[in-house]
């Protein structure tokens, strides 16, 4: 207290004058410098390397390559197109299923019922689980000799030794199911949070007018949730596109490369193939595609438009 009294004379000047001019810059400096060094600089260097032949195992070829890498991507790299196609399919399937299930789940646990708190904690829990742990768990479930399929076969469903992860016909949906398990809670949490802000009077007014639950959902709940849904699907779409943990550990991009996403292909090219130049060009192309799709999505969904 004594020191506070002693400093009192300085207070009026601070109160009356403008806020210290340099302070905000000092405060954002640590974050700003870290982001410049470890986000902005890597991004720029990716653009730079994309224009070069840069392969640490072939230093004699090192040099400026112009747009050669990009020409190769679009004209002479079937793997780029197959991995891009798989990425698109993966993102669309994941985001739409996660949204649909997350929405249903949020509406369910938004009701009042006995045991709601426990039910919420349990259905949201996979949200905190990592991609590698998801793989661990689903490897145990999918294991052909000791997994679920063995017990199903005991009960007369399916056959013994079914290995969903090594069959090119089933591996996609097996991976989708594992990722859904972990991904649905994200949507459920965000949508549930947004449901808290729907004014209760709207539902009362609607039910007075005789609107059933389906119509209330379509005309009150969904419009209210629209911005949250657009934002959540966009963030999730970008995240699902970029995320490699689950597929890298669960399928390793296989069998026969059928579950290789574009980022997985980039990582293989750059890290295992040591072809940094070409990997950088692939990264640049992936960037542009993501950016273009994001802007297009925000435009088409009229994000932040008339509602609210």
């Amino acid at each position: 207290m004594a020191s506070a009294v002693a400093r009192a004379p300085r207070a009026p000047g601070r109160r009356a004058g403008a806020p210290p001019r340099r302070l905000p810059y000092l405060l954002i400096a640590p974050a700003g410098l870290l982001m410049l060094g470890f986000i902005a600089y890597p991004v720029i260097s990716v653009f730079y390397y994309s224009l070069r032949n840069y392969n640490v195992t072939k230093p004699w070829r090192d040099g400026f390559a112009g747009f050669d890498n990009f020409v190769r991507i679009f004209t002479d790299d079937p793997q780029f197109w197959t991995t891009l196609g798989f990425s698109a399919r993966w993102v669309v399937v994941q985001v739409s299923l996660q949204l649909a299930l997350g929405l249903v789940l949020a509406l369910l646990v938004n009701q009042t019922f006995v045991g709601r708190g426990v039910a919420r904690a349990m259905v949201f829990s996979p949200w905190a689980v990592s991609g590698v742990l998801t793989t661990t768990i689903w490897m145990l479930l999918y294991n052909p000799s000791t997994g679920i399929s063995r017990y199903l076969a005991d009960a007369g469903i399916g056959s013994y030794g079914t290995s969903v992860l090594s069959d090119t016909g089933t591996v996609f949906w097996a991976a989708v199911l594992a990722e859904l398990w972990r991904g649905v809670p994200f949507f459920a949490i965000l949508i549930l949070a947004d449901l808290q802000s729907v004014p209760k009077e709207l539902y009362e007014a609607a039910s007075v007018d005789g609107a059933g639950r389906a119509r209330q959902f379509l005309h009150i709940t969904l419009p209210h949730l629209r911005d949250a849904i657009v934002l959540a699907t966009l963030l999730r779409g970008v995240w699902e596109f970029n995320n490699v943990d689950l597929l890298y550990t669960l399928t390793g991009g296989g069998p026969a490369g059928v579950t290789t996403t574009l980022p997985l292909y980039v990582a293989n090219t750059g890290i295992e193939g040591h072809d940094f130049g070409y990997a950088s060009a692939l990264t640049t192309v992936a960037f542009v595609i993501l950016l273009f799709c994001s802007i297009l999505y925000l435009r088409l969904s009229k994000f932040g438009g008339d509602s609210k």
Partner: protein, 307 residues
């Protein structure tokens, strides 16, 4: 939506206004009452049936992991009995999960401290000051959300090699912090905005410096926000796999997800050890999650995310 709303209101308004004779008035009121109850009372089975199905989908995988971790090797019982700790002892000592656990903890706690500290400073600047590059900084924070960490691996590897940080936990801590910062700053500045400036000003009048006023007045009110941001940082860095895989090649520096990946990729997978490793990986995040769960909904619905 506003149009539909107005229409609803205008339709809803007349009945009470007209007043009307007593019997019909009472009639509409009871009917209305019944309908409101009908809205609230979703039939129980319509809640419990789908919820039970979804809970099975969520919990069976967890149970399956516990089952493999706790029952003796070779057992096919569906109940983990007799209980055994053999798998835990094996992964903890033979497969170095004890060391991985320590490394993961170091990374998680260091990321938590750095992220929260730096984000507090940045968030305070955004919440309380107007300055020239503020909008540019905000834009950079938002744009960085679209930058894939996985695609940044190659240049980041080069940077850390130049800084002599490859095979040091420092590289992973820095990388996790950097990618965690943008969202944390946005969240914290939202929480600080919710604290009235007048509280701080009162402390200044009492002679507190800006820093002391912040510590004494603002910080205690930020506790829920700090817990949320800190737990996000911890859980993310605890879970994250790729940076640790790429930047730490020496075995004694690796983290739990990398250790799990090694078990998964082994020539003959030891399922009991794998399951026990999974349980070790899950315990800290499950504890953190149980701790923050109730703040998750309120924290998001406070509008912190939507700014």
């Amino acid at each position: 939506m506003t149009a539909a709303l107005a229409e609803k209101d205008s339709v809803a308004a007349p009945p009470p206004a007209t007043g009307a004779p007593a019997p019909p008035g009472r009639g509409t009121r009871t009917r209305r009452f019944r309908r409101e109850r009908a809205f609230d009372d979703v039939p129980r089975w319509q809640i419990y049936l789908p919820l039970t199905l979804y809970l099975l989908f969520t919990l069976v995988p967890f149970y399956w992991m516990l089952l493999f971790a706790l029952r003796p090797a070779g057992s096919t019982a569906l109940v983990p009995w007799p209980l055994t700790g053999e798998h835990f002892g094996k992964v903890w000592h033979e497969r170095s999960f004890g060391m991985f656990f320590q490394n993961s903890m170091t990374v998680g706690v260091a990321t938590l401290v750095m992220t929260t500290g730096i984000a507090l400073a940045g968030g305070y600047a955004l919440a309380r000051f107007e300055f020239r590059i503020k909008n540019a900084f905000m834009l950079a924070l938002l744009c960085s959300q679209f930058i894939p960490g996985a695609l940044m691996l190659v240049p980041l590897f080069e940077i850390f090699r130049n800084l002599q940080l490859i095979n040091s936990l420092g590289s992973v801590i820095i990388a996790e912090t950097v990618f965690q910062l943008p969202l944390s700053i946005i969240l914290i500045s939202g929480f600080i905005k919710n604290v009235p400036v007048s509280l701080e000003e009162a402390a200044w009048v009492d002679g507190c410096s800006r820093f002391r006023a912040f510590c004494a007045v603002v910080l205690p009110l930020l506790r829920p926000g700090l817990i949320a941001v800190g737990s996000f940082a911890f859980v993310h860095s605890w879970n994250h796999f790729l940076f640790a895989l790429m930047f730490l090649s020496e075995q004694d520096k690796q983290t739990i997800p990398v250790g799990l990946n090694t078990l998964i990729g082994a020539d003959s997978v030891d399922l009991g050890a794998l399951a026990a490793g999974g349980v070790i990986a899950a315990v800290p995040v499950v504890i953190v999650f149980a701790f923050i769960q109730k703040w998750l909904i309120t924290g998001f619905s406070a509008g912190a995310v939507k700014g």
